[in-house]
């Protein structure tokens, strides 16, 4: 098993990946992932530690799991994942700092409450960075986002991504000016053929960016009212709103809509169905985010969790994750494993694209945002 795994991880390792190798690697990795799941664990792994982790399942897909477990010597047991809100609620609940060994969640959402108001209030374990040497190889874009306080490190970005418009290029030509921004979701031109995401945070954010607000998170109540009015006015063009991954993919694949607010993994899923689906790079603001690995303060297996975070920052894991899900790793070594065309498609070049990058931060008055969103839906 070890041999086949290492062969797999070497399939593209150290060399730029051409399309054929990319596909071959992904397919073989899938088979290996299945095999790894069905074979008994190696004695070394069987005797090693295990951690209970809360993280979106997509960030540890089956083909990538053996890489993490082999590299860290730790078995990762995924506890049910619901949402960043739920993850935070679990951490903040009485006894929450000792229930789980590690978590992966939206950095900018979690860090405030998880760190607490001042030094000493942290609900997170200060990471022993000697267990996470791969953190030194983060992409420069994310190195500054390692969360520290008083000289201690608490969170390290492991996966990043962006939300954009996913559209069917057979129906909406890529040279249509509207596809260069979020306007495609608001314009009358594609009335009845677009879907929004049923999410106050994301949709109000992109509407504000589209309307030229420089920093939507800081919107005051009157700005929020303006955006609410705008969305109510534009709602007439919307076929429906999606809430779950499968629902969104089905909307495009069934031809129900041609464009929607979407995630990277949706693009990948639709392209696997041989649909001519792509995403745009909205000039009014590409929504970027990253998810960090962190360890609750009283985690029973904190050190093992640190080794898992380190493995998630390895180029081998990062490459597999990107191949399988299209979500890019924050490791600075991963981009070079893909050829230039794939790097561009995957978004490794977002800094050079010249589009505005806007972090999916959390608004302080999210309560008002949610109320506005319900008003929009009711209207």
């Amino acid at each position: 098993m070890n041999k086949s795994l290492s062969e797999l991880t070497r399939l593209t390792g150290g060399h730029p990946t051409d399309r054929r190798t990319f596909l071959k690697g992904a397919g073989a990795a899938g088979v290996a992932g299945l095999a790894a799941g069905s074979l008994p664990m190696s004695p070394a792994l069987a005797q090693s530690a295990s951690v209970v982790a809360i993280m979106p399942g997509v960030f540890i897909p089956d083909p990538a799991r053996p890489i993490v477990e082999e590299m860290s010597g730790v078995k990762v047991e995924n506890a049910p994942y619901v949402s960043p809100t739920d993850t935070l609620a679990k951490l903040m609940a009485p006894g929450g700092t000792s229930q789980y060994d590690m978590m992966v969640s939206l950095t900018n959402f979690v860090k405030g409450p998880a760190l607490g108001a001042s030094d000493g209030d942290e609900r997170l374990r200060a990471l022993d960075m000697s267990n996470i040497p791969n953190a030194e190889k983060l992409m420069p874009l994310f190195a500054k986002d390692i969360v520290t306080r008083a000289g201690k490190t608490y969170m390290v970005p492991v996966v990043w991504g962006y939300d954009s418009v996913i559209y069917n290029a057979d129906e909406i030509p890529s040279d249509d000016e509207l596809t260069q921004s979020w306007s495609v979701l608001f314009s009358d031109k594609y009335k009845g053929r677009v879907a929004w995401r049923d999410d106050a945070h994301g949709m109000i954010m992109v509407a504000a960016l589209n309307q030229g607000h420089p920093d939507p998170v800081q919107m005051d109540e009157s700005d929020l009212k303006e955006i609410t009015k705008f969305l109510i006015d534009r709602k007439k063009n919307v076929r429906t709103m999606w809430t779950k991954f499968g629902e969104a993919v089905n909307l495009v694949s069934s031809g129900e809509v041609w464009a929607m607010y979407g995630w990277i993994a949706m693009r990948a899923a639709l392209q696997r169905q041989d649909l001519n689906v792509t995403n745009n790079w909205p000039t009014d603001g590409l929504l970027t985010w990253h998810q960090s690995g962190f360890v609750p303060k009283d985690a029973p297996n904190g050190e093992a969790a640190e080794r898992v975070i380190n493995a998630m920052l390895s180029k081998e894991y990062g490459q597999k994750l990107t191949e399988v899900t299209n979500y890019p790793s924050t490791s600075g070594e991963v981009a070079a494993l893909f050829d230039e065309e794939d790097q561009r498609k995957l978004g490794f070049d977002i800094v050079d694209r010249g589009v505005k990058l806007y972090g999916l931060d959390f608004p302080v008055n999210i309560d008002k945002w949610v109320e506005s969103w319900n008003t929009i839906k009711t209207a």
Binding site: A200, R239, G255, V370, T378
Partner: protein
């Protein structure tokens, strides 16, 4: 020497008695006692303790969560957590904010209409079912239950490939040349929500009505017919009154389920697919405002309770809870 017979050790009934014969139809209580003595079973006191498990269950899983929710509805929540600061702000917000009032009325309207539509569809089905016999009945029941062995979400989701632009209905109509463009109005509107809710909750209406109809003695219907009642009168004056507890039970169940629905409107309702349940869900799932979510939930509970109490004055809702026995 005894002049009157003494009660026997076993039965308490005299061997011979110059007094008048005892009542040949003793009270049920006396009969029970006699049977107990004959069977050798000794009473062990009032078996109130048998209520224990049920009462405990109700306390732990019914009352305690409700009380906790009530308590929390007066607290304060932010995205960072909930703190026990007693205040009435959450309820004030529910009352003064137009959004929540509108949603409440919209949801009650949808729930009433769903209940009415489900009743209209379910009663004939239940009636037919109660008239069938043998294998045909078993087959019919199986057909009715089959879709309900799947998940609720799937039963709502299944309408997407049926009603969608490229769904079964549009494709059929296009193939038959009846339309030349897919119909958009089949899906993602309030009509689709009604369709989904009625479909999903039909069983909850059909089953209790069927059980009520099954219990009706056919002799009563025959008697009414023999006495010259026309079919409509038989239905109005015999069948409907006797199946009324089942109708009420079904209506209450469907109403309660509809009033708290949130998956169906979300999946089938399109851009305006929102009901009160979605507003509550967004407080728990989107912005972690458990306190306000609790206040919204309890407001709904209170309104439904008031509706039930008020309606019980006219439609005998108590029958549902007493199994049709008024006492």
């Amino acid at each position: 020497m005894r002049t009157t017979a003494e009660p026997s050790r076993a039965g308490g009934r005299p061997h011979s008695d110059p007094e008048p014969e005892p009542d040949p139809s003793p009270s049920p209580d006396a009969g029970r006692k006699a049977r107990r003595k004959e069977s050798g079973v000794r009473p062990i006191g009032r078996p109130i303790w048998l209520l224990g498990p049920g009462v405990l269950w109700l306390l732990v899983f019914g009352l305690a969560p409700l009380l906790f929710m009530l308590m929390m509805s007066f607290w304060t929540s932010t995205i960072f957590g909930t703190s026990p600061d007693f205040q009435f702000g959450n309820y004030a917000r529910v009352i003064v904010t137009e959004l929540y009032r509108d949603q409440l009325f919209k949801t009650l309207r949808i729930a009433f209409m769903t209940t009415a539509m489900t009743l209209v569809i379910s009663y004939p089905v239940a009636y037919l079912l109660s008239r069938l016999q043998g294998m045909r009945k078993a087959l019919f029941v199986l057909m009715m239950f089959l879709p309900f062995w799947t998940s609720y979400v799937i039963r709502a989701f299944v309408w997407l490939p049926i009603l969608g632009r490229n769904g079964a209905i549009n494709n059929t109509l296009l193939a038959l040349g009846i339309i030349d463009q897919p119909l958009d109005w089949l899906l993602f509107n309030e009509g689709a929500v009604f369709l989904g809710l009625v479909y999903v909750y039909t069983l909850f209406m059909t089953l209790p009505i069927y059980l009520s109809l099954e219990k009706i003695d056919p002799a009563l219907i025959e008697a009414a017919t023999d006495l010259g009642a026309r079919p409509a009168a038989v239905f109005r004056r015999v069948i409907l009154p006797l199946s009324w507890p089942g109708v009420l039970s079904g209506c209450i169940m469907v109403f309660l389920l509809s009033v708290s629905a949130f998956v169906t409107p979300q999946l089938l309702g399109g851009a305006s697919g929102i009901m009160y349940g979605n507003v509550i869900a967004s407080q728990f799932l989107a912005n972690n405002n458990w306190a306000f979510g609790s206040a919204l939930s309890l407001t709904l509970v209170a309104i439904v309770l008031v509706l039930l109490l008020v309606s019980s004055r006219w439609i005998g809702v108590q029958h549902v809870f007493t199994g049709g026995r008024d006492s």
